[in-house]
Amino acid sequence: MGGPAGRFLIRRSPCFLEASFVIGIAAMRANSWRRTLRDPALFATVVTLWALLALFILFPLANLLARTFIEGGHFTLANLGAILRDANHRQAFWNSLLLAALVGLCGTILGFLYAFTAVRANLSRAWITVLDAASLLLLISPPFTSAIAMIFSFGARGLITYHLLGIKGFTVYGLHSTLFSETFTYFPIAYLTLKPILHGIDPNVEDMAFSLGSSRWRVFRTVTLPLTIPGLANAFLLLFAASLADFATPLILAGNSFPVLPTQAYLQITGLFDLKGGAVLSFVLLVPALAVYLLQRFWVSRRYYVTITGKVGAQTAIKSVAPWARAPLLCACLLVAGVILYFYALLFYASVVVALGANHAWTWQHYRVIFTEGLKAIHDTLIIGGAGMPLGGLYGILLGYLVAKKIFPGRQAMEIVSMINYALPGTIVGIAYLIAFNDPPLVLTGTALIIVACYVFRYSPTGIRATVALLQQIDPSIEEASESLGASSGTTFRRITLPLILPAFFAGLGVVFIRSMTAISATIFLVSINWTLITVRILENMTELSLGPAAAFSILVVIIVFVVIILISGLLRRFRAAGVVEMTSILGG
């Protein structure tokens, strides 16, 4: 790092987003075995967790790999070769990468614009709330919402393309609209990643550059931007992964000329009933997904910079944005927020008219439909989400507590394994579960458990990370101090450790619940005659004729999730979340 800011930089060990463990010295291994065996409770917990991880993460993944690489008891590359030789599948692979890269690029730019405006443009609180609310809305939405709105706005008879601009026969299906829709859906992730980073750059550093005579552009180019580069890379990779895994948007918007892998794998299985082909396609998707995840986690996220100036407290007025630039920046952001609000207004409108586009008479009919015919889906989803919530919360703090505070063999391996389902695109996880639990010895398809397990093991890593981050914040000496002051270990746990873990518990269960309400890519393979989900019904309604109920379901999901978020953030505030577990980390997962 050159430039005027260089000397003020230090590299920080990344305890903020990631937990790094500097344990694993060979000499300690034997010792840790002995210690674990001497502590039966710890031993039992470790064994139980490993059993669960093996069952719900490693076993399905092993099944997926076996389908891909083993044929008649022998290792073979023939299945993979057959898929790779197929020009259409190759095309889908490159399309997926292209789409992911473009979404990463556009989403990061948009997210940076948003974050920069929010942090540096001296906005009033009200404006920042507007920006936050618009991005929050996107993060808690069920899939398809922006896709539905896109078709209505930009289709051949779209409100915008046809009625407003008078373009005839505009093709909405393809790369352009998928890119647009995914960029809008995922840019809040970039915003949430970049905002704290920009916030962490002390304006004093920029001030120094100004006082040395730099222009605003030069300061932006040589100070602000270089300091955010790791954050930008991180945001890009997160968006890349999100797009790579997205199944719902391309299913609606990509059309036939732009096939992508998750959609192809889904059609291969549900349409042609080719489990093997689906498994192989998922495996092909697994490679870039894993690569991006490892890159993000072990390389980029370790490269955060903070600025230490020695007089952090004395905030000076932020000068990095010229007064004349403030208005255009705000306008650009508000334009984006306006598009988002328009999408949702359209969605709500679709839910209260008889048939959008044909009969605009006001009706509550669609809501009556979802609360009668759709009641089972709502009921099932709430039960599954409700069951997953405490399980996910418990599992998250248990595993987080173990890897952060206990010494036992295979600790780091446990943490890595627990992250696998989170890192993989949902289509892969769903297909792996379907393959693994469809036949004896363990038949789980058709039960609620398989859906709950899928959600818990896929979305608990947010809770795990939050637990680890919280526990790492306290020096063990605090607990030691408490005990040396005469508190029993019980009191210490109750007064010191428990309040610290509770926010992570709520964050963890919050994520599991929210994703139970909104995720579809994995669980679409797992719904059954006994258990169905709102998101699957939305897709069903969309692909059938019933846009009204689909819109009504979507609005319902947004409302439920919004209420739950308010409840959880209330709880978090009560337990003084110490800035680590903010609502952002609930949603970023």
């Binding site: 059609l267 586009g357 418990l394 059954s528 005659i529 692909t543």
Partner: protein, 345 residues
């Protein structure tokens, strides 16, 4: 540290208990319910099943899938069936299922009176309705482009339809399979000629939709100019208030029987058979008119509803040969994916 230990224990135990609980909570088999995969959309299947419950006291648990998805599930669950009955769906789906050995023969009381094309000789499936394909176009689109409603398959090749036709994807939809076999029949089962036609039609296709009715809404809204759908979906679109025109090709179009089948190894075979008895009877099929379901009844005793008869008057409709279709379905669909769907322009 004793407290922490017990705390760990407590958490672990509750986690395990909850898992076991979730497992045990899976619903058991009940005597007075039947489980079904319905290929009919929910808004038609539900009233039928409610009427069935009224008539027999047997409750139908069902979930709706496109025909390809439903068949895929039935095959996947062959060793451990989750449902007792596959309800509805064009008969090629059932014909393909026979090859996979997923159905159990059952001949309901109506079996004897049904015409031959409405039953599989061994009773592997029995028809509950008949469903012809139609061309459906957006009336405003026709007017704007000075077009007459398409009256032959060739009319759809008109460049005015470029990028404006939506129809179903053969990978997931039975509607699409019926359509492809209709085209094969029109071309005297000359596969090369039929595929030539489909390739020529490809540039006019805006989107192949996942389900058979998927394109009706876009056509109704004018997002697409027209498409090929089952008559039930087309008339339903019209009934919802969309301004669409229904027409038939003079060179003929296929109709597909909608069938029901008992799943081999069904856990509730007795109520499953009752559902088949009732669905193939005049009792159910005379309810179509009441619920505005525009299927053509399969049972000879049920009169076709007057307005539906009016639509069908003077049209050339031929049945799809289910044996030929069942035998060739997989190969034809694969050829369609490779040559038509992925055609590079």
């Amino acid at each position: 540290m004793r407290f922490v230990r017990s705390w760990l224990c407590w958490l672990t135990v509750s986690l395990v208990l909850a898992c076991v609980g979730g497992w045990a909570a899976a619903p058991a088999v009940a005597a007075d319910t039947v489980n079904a995969y319905s290929i009919w959309p929910e808004n038609w299947a539900r009233p039928m099943f409610e009427e069935f419950e009224k008539a027999t006291g047997i409750k139908v648990n069902f979930v709706r899938f496109s025909s390809g998805e439903a068949l895929a599930r039935v095959i996947a669950e062959k060793n451990n069936p989750r449902v007792d009955v596959l309800f509805g769906g064009p008969v090629e789906t059932h014909a393909a299922g026979i090859k996979e050995g997923v159905f159990e023969s059952y001949k309901p009381p109506s079996f004897a009176v049904l015409p031959a094309r409405f039953k599989q000789p061994d009773g592997q499936w029995v028809a509950i309705a008949d469903d012809p394909l139609v061309f459906m176009t957006n009336t405003k689109f026709l007017k704007e482009n000075n077009l007459k409603p398409p009256a032959s398959w060739g009319d759809l090749l008109n460049p005015a339809y470029k990028n404006m036709i939506q129809m179903a994807d053969a990978r997931t939809s039975g509607t699409a399979v019926t359509r492809i076999f209709s085209i094969l029949e029109v071309y005297g089962r000359d596969e090369n000629k039929a595929f030539d036609y489909m390739k020529k039609l490809r540039p006019n296709v805006q989107l192949y939709t996942k389900s058979g009715g998927g394109g009706t809404l876009p056509v109704g809204l004018g997002q697409a100019g027209g498409g090929i759908f089952f008559i039930v979906d087309a008339l339903d679109t019209k009934a919802k208030g969309y301004d669409v025109t229904i027409s038939f090709p003079k060179d003929g179009i296929g109709t597909s029987a909608e069938a029901i089948a008992l799943i081999k190894g069904a856990k509730n075979p007795a109520p499953g058979k009752k559902l088949i008895d009732w669905s193939t009877s005049a009792a159910m099929q005379s309810l179509f008119a009441k619920y505005k379901i525009n299927f053509v009844p399969a049972h000879p005793d049920v009169k076709i509803e007057a307005s539906l008869a009016e639509v069908l008057k003077g049209t050339k409709i031929f049945p799809i040969d289910d044996v030929y279709a069942g035998e060739n379905r997989k190969r034809i669909v694969e050829r369609w994916v490779n040559e038509v769907l992925n055609l590079k322009d």
